[in-house]
């Protein structure tokens, strides 16, 4: 093998080594700090149907006559549901205030929300409140708890739509 060939093979070796080093390193390095070491996580999840916004009303005969024959239902019930209003306080400070709209083209579906919030680890007081009708003056669904969170611990606060209360998991 002459010098020129040796140089070529060496050049190839260097190129392959750099290629492997690049892939080997960047395929899992450097480590990414997703959550600061002194923090914990709260996952707040709600899946609930807001209340219907309008009242059902009786259609009079003139209204019924104006409707196609197949749609002459005596009661007119609006389908639109109220958005949910969701508030989370940590140690008295509001960290989340969210309006969750109902799904669907007619806004008649379930409202669904998921929020991940990082909080300092240690003892904290949580207060979560929710309204399911825009006309409600106060929050009918409320829960409060003092918890001690370890660093990186996940606390799930989930609203159980059947029992209509927040659960801390």
């Amino acid at each position: 093998m002459n010098t020129s060939d040796a140089r070529r093979w060496l050049g190839q070796g260097v190129a392959y080594a750099l290629f492997a080093a690049f892939i080997g390193y960047f395929s899992n390095s450097p480590a990414y700090q997703h959550l600061p070491p002194d923090q914990a996580t709260i996952k707040l999840s709600v899946r609930h149907s807001g209340q219907l916004l309008g009242e059902c009303k009786q259609r009079d005969s003139a209204e019924l006559a104006n409707l196609p024959a197949t749609m002459r239902a005596p009661m007119d019930c609006p389908r639109e549901r109220s958005p949910l209003e969701l508030v989370l306080e940590v140690n008295g400070a509001t960290v989340l205030h969210d309006i969750v709209p109902p799904r669907g083209l007619h806004r008649d579906g379930m409202a669904s929300s998921y929020r991940r919030i990082n909080v300092p680890a240690g003892a904290i007081t949580l207060r979560v409140r929710m309204k399911d009708h825009t006309a409600q003056a106060d929050f009918p669904y409320t829960a409060e708890r003092t918890v001690t969170l370890q660093p990186a611990q996940v606390l799930v606060i989930d609203f159980d739509s059947q029992s209509r209360r927040f659960k801390f998991l």
Binding site: R7, R8, L10, G11, Q12, V14, A15, Y16, A17, F19, A20, F22, I23, G24, F26, S27, N28, S29, P30, A31, Y32, Q33, H34, L35, P36, P37, A40, T41, K43, S45, R47, R103, G109, M110, S112, S113, Y114, R116, Q150, P151, A152, Q153, V154, V156, D158, L169
Partner: protein, 525 residues
């Protein structure tokens, strides 16, 4: 703006390729076969993926355990397969990205190449989706991070009607069926990717999907070695009761994931959508307007004998064969102007493009209006007339390779064409027979990096009588030489030219009027 960026990138690219040329040679230079390398890596990922799938358990507990066991207990095969699966995917992301940047720098996104460019953009999304979905399957801490972050990101899309991220609230909310779905997705997305890759190269004649064997062996050996030295490992089983604080991110695929922690994920969607839209629109943002010089090839039915050589040679499938306009039972070529890049390779293949014809104006069966064969004959003869001294050489070059006017001197005349493949072999014979010419040298892009894909290769094959029209010359094949030289290979061309002229002198061919010492095949540098 786009053209300035292109020129800047092209400068860097040409210098880099020159360095790689010196180490790998033109045949093995990875820069000339990034697309083929991507195909090659894809097949390795598929093969290793099939092996991994045999051992994979599609359940919450089983997913991690099966991959972990494969990695640790069967490290010599399963572990290597897993590592290769990951590293080849990473390598594919790199080759695909470089392929995109290179094609952009070379301007191969306009005109006839718009289809390949645009059809390549969705493949980026599919490639990234396939890779990210694959990490998910391992169901380790890294998979947990990806699952949580990706679903939170996905649900910011208005079309997602329910909270996906709720699936990963806690271990209780997880279902085995999710892993079955993820496996299905991890098979379906690469299948879509494969179909997309097929469509991507559909309009390219004989698209190269296999890299040179030496390069292929080099890449596989490198990645196998990497798999043994630094095997891919899991990060520990997923545990939804704790957040993954620090993660060993795959920066090659997930370089934008940290953004999701810093800005509203909607902005990340907007950013990626914006980049995608920009990539798709580039051909229209920087179009190549048709000018007289780049007008599409035209067919002259009177001179087209329906041989179909142009149809076989067009690298962009712009030529089709149809029933002849007026000759019953004959066919003629037809050009789709939208697909034609005016490379002239069709004219180079046309048997009627012979300068020996005794006609006042030479018209070929197919030719490009920007550089018709009549002009080629006239300009070539004008150049021949300037030759003097001994060992006189007429050089034909290519506009996209080394500018050959740089090598003109006493005894050397040069004429650049849109592509070396545009030169009909009969022209070489014609020029070689001229009294004032001792030899003809044809230059152009390297065969693996021909700007018009096949011009250099077809020329070589025509000269070697492996492709029609053949080079037949009574002047002697010793008087003809090929030397492919890229833009940065002036030394190579000058050396080849000097050797050629020395050879012409040695053989006494340089003596005026002595054209008798021909024999053997043409020499290829």
């Amino acid at each position: 703006m786009i053209r300035r960026l292109q020129d800047f990138m092209l400068g860097i690219l040409q210098r880099t390729e020159a360095v790689f040329d010196s180490a790998f040679g033109e045949r093995w230079n990875p820069w000339y076969q990034l697309g083929a390398l991507s195909f090659h890596l894809f097949w390795i990922v598929v093969a290793t993926g099939i092996y991994l799938f045999v051992f994979f358990d599609t359940s919450i507990v089983g997913a991690y355990a099966s991959v972990h066991s494969l990695t640790e207990e069967q490290w010599y095969l399963g572990g290597v397969m897993r590592s290769l699966h990951r590293y080849c995917s990473d390598a594919m992301a790199i080759t695909v990205t470089l392929h995109l940047l290179r094609e952009f720098a070379k301007g191969r996104f306009r005109g006839a190449q718009t289809f390949s460019w645009v059809s390549g953009v969705p493949l980026l999304w599919l490639l990234f989706a396939a890779a990210i979905g694959g990490y998910w399957l391992v169901w380790d801490r890294f998979a947990q991070y990806i699952a949580q972050t990706t679903t939170e990101w996905m649900e910011r899309l208005p079309v997602i009607s329910d909270s996906l991220a709720r699936t990963f609230l806690s271990d209780v909310t997880l279902s085995d069926r999710l892993f079955s779905l993820m496996v299905f997705m991890h098979i379906a997305i690469p299948l879509f990717l494969l179909v997309g890759m097929f469509i991507h190269v559909k309009r390219l004649k004989l698209a190269r999907t296999d890299p040179a064997r030496g390069l292929s062996i080099g890449v596989i050996a490198t990645l196998v070695l990497l798999s043994l030295v630094k095997p891919a490992r899991s990060m520990g089983p997923a545990d939804l009761s704790t957040t993954v604080a620090s993660v060993d991110l795959d920066w090659i695929y997930m370089n934008f994931y940290p953004l999701l922690d810093r800005v509203d994920p909607v902005y990340v969607w907007l950013l990626l959508a914006g980049v995608t839209a920009l990539l798709v629109l580039i051909p229209w943002l920087s179009p190549q307007p048709r000018s007289a010089a780049t007008a599409a090839a035209v067919v002259d039915p009177a001179n087209c004998n329906g041989c179909s050589w142009c149809f076989q040679d067009c690298p962009y499938e712009a030529v089709t064969m149809i029933t002849h306009e007026y000759k019953t039972g004959h066919r003629q070529a037809q050009v789709d102007p939208d697909l034609c890049t005016a490379c002239g390779i069709c004219a180079g293949s046309c048997p009627s493009a012979t300068p020996f014809r005794h006609v006042e104006e030479l018209v070929s069966g197919i030719e490009i209006p920007g550089f018709p064969v009549d002009r080629l004959r006239k300009e070539a003869m004008q150049k021949v007339a300037t030759l003097s001294g001994d060992a006189r050489v007429m050089v034909f070059g290519c506009d996209h390779a080394l500018p050959i006017d740089q090598i003109e001197s006493e005894g050397v005349a040069a004429l650049s064409l849109p592509c070396a493949g545009m030169l009909p072999p009969s022209f070489v014979d014609y020029i070689a027979r001229q009294e004032a010419v001792d030899g003809v040298l044809v230059s152009g892009c390297c065969t693996d990096d021909c700007f018009h894909r096949k011009g250099s290769q077809w020329t070589e094959e025509r000269f070697a009588s492996r492709r029609m029209p053949h080079l037949r010359t009574s002047a002697g094949h010793d008087k003809v030489r090929i030397c492919w030289a890229g833009v940065s290979q002036r030394d190579k061309l000058e050396t080849a030219l000097a050797e050629f002229r020395a050879s012409l002198r040695r053989h006494g061919i340089a003596a005026r009027g002595d054209a008798e010492s021909a024999g053997g095949g043409h020499e290829h540098q």
